[in-house]
């Protein structure tokens, strides 16, 4: 009798168990709560700007003059896209190269050192990159840009990309960003390469493949989906990067094909202008934040779907 009672007893331990579970669930759900709260509160605050978006040309106009109530964010969106694309364009091949170096080329000791260095690169604060970009890097790149302008500027169509050079510009911002997103793309790509089945690599070796042929035949086909996902995550990071870009982009509100001209991005505009804004101006800046939020969320979600799908396919292939 006593035995069975102790077994069914609702003792303190059991209550503790429930309480602890509840605590943990609450913490987990906090993530969902915060995300939802961000969306709701930012949309709410930016409603004055967003509700009339169509009529005011919020998304479609490059006209931006808070003094007269003109809030067209097209130039900022343009700058964000251009700078992120430059960053991804340069960062992706480099990251894939590093990931291949780590998975296929490096010996164990070298690998540990390289991984630490890439971790260090990831932990350099973005404002420090911005400072370095503004006072060191941009002065180095100027002669190079000028040479490119002189050589390629005359070519029809493509030449428009290499217009006259200003000290701070899209290109510099994109290159700094590229360095900053290399660690994340590298680490995801590396994980993807690590999951390539050894059997596939051996099959290539056994046919007399060189290392490069093995990589092309066995590693890359398996990794395509994962790499696409990694690139998208890198793109998301690049779009949201704020202070480094704010310091080196040149703060000019314009849409131009010239990569050597100054521009502006959404996050840079928010951080530079937020302090001096009020009323409708603030609403417009928060509205830009909503646009950025939605864009980055969409890209992140899509990237995750792509990565996961690639993972599942890989596992299916192994089984």
């Amino acid at each position: 009798m006593t035995q069975s009672r102790t077994l069914t007893q609702k003792d303190r331990g059991r209550i503790n168990d429930r309480a602890f579970w509840l605590l943990c669930v609450t913490a987990g759900v906090a993530v969902l709560g915060i995300l939802a709260a961000i969306l709701v509160s930012t949309i709410q605050q930016s409603w004055p700007a967003l509700s009339n978006a169509g009529a005011n040309g919020f998304f479609t106009s490059t006209g931006w003059d808070p003094n007269v109530g003109k809030y067209g964010i097209l130039a900022f969106m343009f700058g964000t896209v251009v700078v992120s694309l430059i960053a991804v364009l340069f960062a992706v091949p480099v990251s894939i190269g590093i990931a291949l170096f780590l998975t296929e080329l490096a010996h164990r000791r070298v690998k540990a050192v390289v991984v630490t260095l890439i971790d260090l690169l990831a932990s350099v604060p973005s404002v420090v990159f911005g400072l370095w970009g503004l006072y060191v890097f941009s002065s180095w790149t100027k002669p190079l840009y000028e040479w490119l302008h002189d050589t390629l500027g005359g070519i029809p169509v493509i030449g428009a990309l290499f217009g006259s050079v200003t000290g701070l510009n899209f290109m510099t911002a994109g290159l700094i960003l590229a360095v900053m997103i290399i660690p994340i793309i590298t680490s995801i790509t590396r994980e993807v390469f690590d999951t390539v089945p050894a059997a596939d690599k051996q099959a290539a070796w056994a046919l007399g493949a060189t290392k490069w042929e093995m990589i092309r035949g066995a590693v890359l086909p398996h990794s395509f989906g994962g790499i696409v996902g990694a690139v998208m995550l890198g793109l998301g990071r690049a779009m949201g990067e704020t202070v480094a870009v704010a310091l080196v982009i040149g703060a000019a509100i314009q849409v131009t094909p010239n990569l050597f001209a100054p521009g502006y991005t959404i996050p840079a505009a928010i951080v530079n202008l937020f302090g001096e804004s009020s009323g409708e101006f603030t609403a417009a800046l928060i509205g830009m934040g909503v646009v950025l939020f939605v864009l980055t969320i969409a890209i992140n979600l899509l990237a995750q779907v792509v990565v996961r799908r690639a993972e599942i396919r890989m596992k299916g292939a192994v089984a």
Binding site: V31, A37, S123, L131
Partner: protein
Amino acid sequence: MTTMQSAVATNGHAAVTRASLRRGALPLRRRAMDILSKVLMSISLLVAIVPLILVIFYVIQKGAGLLSWDFLTEDIVASPRRTGGGMGPAVAGTLLITGIASLIAIPLGLLGAIYLNEYGRNNALARFIRVMADVMTGVPSIVMALFIYIAVVLTMREKTGLAASLALAALMLPVVLRSSEEMLKLVPDELRQASAALGSRRWKTTLSVVLPAAISGITSGVMLAIARAAGETTPIVVCAGIAYGISWDPMVEQTALPAQIFVNAALPFAPAVERAWGAALTLMIIVLVFTIAARVVASRFAIKNR
């Protein structure tokens, strides 16, 4: 050699000779591609490492002259044109704001991780939280800063150090959550079962067996998260306001090193830019100490696992 020649295979196989097995037998194009690919991989590595070295070099070169005890403790000069003064309020602000953010994000992230790995596992809610946490990692810090500005600064009607802490905490939370979950995942199930077989409750097993087993891995992940948070600029600029004297009160306006770097870097005065480099060196030291400490803790963990 002669016996080998006679052993040439029939059925159209190419004859095996000494030369045919040598490295030189690999056609030039294939060998060139192979070497080229290896060279390109090594160059990619350099492309990433060289900027890292250059950034560290310049931060030390331009900041070291300024770094002193006075620089770390003195108040910030009111006029950015003037030389002198220090980064005392920014150092204090960085420690205070990041500290409070850690106090909020670490317990929350850890409990969330326990939910994901010990309770939720693969149920719908856990999977959803995992996806959303990954999405949240990708939320730009400027968006997080705006959110806290709306939710906290507008309600309290003033910028405070606490508001910046909350924004940093929101940025840290998903990172702590996911990295801790990965570490909990590494704890073998046998440990849980052994504890359960002794009649231990789930929460007790988790706190007394699972968590201690994973603690160094979790610590390492948490320290990396702190290092990243200490370098975040936008939450400070948007939510913390500005301060010129040292204060340890989170309910008043504060400043921090990243914000000081950002603000001073953009000013056209040489003394301000110099202070920016000094602050950058200070910040880099703080961040590097945490990053390296995280590595050390992590490698200890790896040894224990072996």
